[in-house]
């Protein structure tokens, strides 16, 4: 025995693996190898988070569904034990938060004000307009220079145009909010910048609400403004709701368009199926599979337990943080055989890429229609679409809450 003092374990979490973990070089679509190892050896275990805290990490599909459906597993960021994504996020949530960071009944009250806009019927009625947007952007691509960056020229433009029209925000402002949403989602952004981005977006939406209060239209923000006028929503709640829709409405879908295209270009046998079909069921199935395979919300959903909860043979104590990354659950071989293969013919509908429980993505059906139109059109209209660089030259969003690529140079 030597007299070297032991390093104290526990409070500092020195013995726990750091989370998030890095993906393997050359495998940009797959979960990090060390996350997989954890899933195999200790599917519910503690990890070390950026602030030195040690939340639980839950990796398996069945355990994740049970936890996310449990309302005693809280999304309330005002809980001091809530595992925020970064110092910037923590500060931001101290200033204000939208309903996704609340529990029922407040969450349900605010969410229900918006659900009429996202029913299956309602978003289906938007399909022809989305098709027109996609066709127009592809016309522009084909008439423009090549190679070109598919992110800027197409992937960002589709959802931005759709959400601008829905909210009643001028599309001319798109670069302003694309920049700020990017900053907002970047865990590397310093807290100051992230906070400024949040304030910029809130100010922008608040001005939009102000304008709709005096001259309402038939857009979503006019309805939100109407609820402010009726005293059902505070101006602060309305602005937070608007920012949530703006953020949720374009960044996620944009990443799915670019990253999905990149993935399909790596799987030519799958791409050819999409290129040659006009069967809506095949296209819808492809969207579910791409959403499963890529699960762009890469670090998971943060929660905090409100009571002792058993999961995967462990007991998560009241007050402990929990991280629930669907990116690993959607690769659970017990649920999706051969999970690392992109197979657009499989039934992938059981994925939880849009979350599970009462917080499941409000805009999921709009995202589905947008992606169905994009994947069902882009490769048919540009059958020779290909990368204008090599896979290892493409910049990936490794530290953004939503995974994707910063740019995707393509030609045809």
């Amino acid at each position: 025995m030597t007299d070297t003092p032991a390093i104290p374990a526990g409070p500092t979490g020195a013995d726990f693996p750091d989370y998030p973990m890095p993906r393997a070089t050359g495998c940009p679509f797959d979960p990090p190898p060390s996350l997989r190892q954890l899933e195999a050896e200790a599917p519910v275990s503690k990890v070390r988070w950026w602030d030195g805290s040690t939340p639980w990490l839950v990796t398996r599909y069945d355990d994740q569904r049970v936890l996310l459906a449990n309302q005693r597993v809280s999304s309330d960021t005002s809980n001091p034990q809530f595992p925020s994504f970064s110092a910037g996020y923590k500060k931001m949530h101290e200033r204000g938060r939208s309903f996704v960071r609340m529990d029922d009944p407040e969450h349900a009250r605010l969410r229900h004000m918006l659900t009429a806009w996202f029913t299956v019927k309602r978003v289906e009625a938007m399909r022809p307009g989305i098709q027109t947007i996609v066709d127009g952007l592809i016309d522009d691509l084909l008439a423009g220079p090549k190679p070109t960056d598919l992110v800027e020229a197409f992937a960002l433009a589709v959802p931005s145009l759709v959400i601008c029209e829905m909210l009643g925000a001028p599309y001319a402002d798109h670069s302003f909010f694309q920049e700020n949403v990017n900053l907002f989602n970047d865990r590397d952004a310093d807290p100051e910048h992230g906070g400024q981005a949040d304030q910029q977006l809130l100010g922008y939406i608040d001005r939009l609400i102000g304008a709709r209060l005096t001259s309402p239209g038939d857009d979503l923000m006019s309805e939100v403004a109407g609820r402010v006028r009726a005293g059902e929503l505070s101006r602060e709640e309305a602005a937070q709701t608007g920012v949530l829709l703006l953020r949720g409405g374009h960044d996620t879908t944009a990443n799915m368009i670019a990253l999905g295209t990149l993935a399909l270009l790596q799987y030519p046998d799958q791409l050819v199926i999409l290129r040659e079909t006009d069967d809506p069921a095949v296209i819808a199935g492809a969207v579910e599979e791409l959403v499963r395979y890529l699960t762009i919300v890469q670090f998971g959903l943060p929660r905090v337990a409100l009571e002792d909860i058993e999961a995967g043979g462990q007991v998560i104590r009241a007050g402990e943080g929990v991280l629930v990354p669907a990116s690993i659950a959607n690769r659970d071989a017990a649920v999706f055989p051969g999970p690392d293969r992109l197979d657009i013919g499989r039934d992938a509908r059981g994925h939880i890429a849009f979350g599970f429980g009462v917080h499941q993505c409000l805009g999921q059906n709009l995202a589905r229609v947008e992606l169905q139109v994009v994947y069902g059109t882009l490769y048919r209209r540009i059958p020779t679409l290909k990368l204008a660089t090599s896979l290892d030259q493409i910049p990936f969003k490794d530290n953004s809450l939503n995974y994707g690529v910063d740019e995707l140079p393509v030609t045809w």
Partner: protein, 64 residues
Amino acid sequence: MKVTIDTAKCISAGQCVLAAPEVFDQRDDDGIVLLLTSSPPVSLAEDVRQAATLCPALAIAVED
């Protein structure tokens, strides 16, 4: 097959409508689930079970 829904739990996700449109619909004013038939034919049994599995709010119960 007997289907019951709990509208108080429903979060208007619409997954049931995608899985079994002959059995489930949504109210126009808030997207809450509408049950079109509580005893769907056997031919739809698989779709209805899928709807119950996908429902994120666990608001659909199916009895054989």
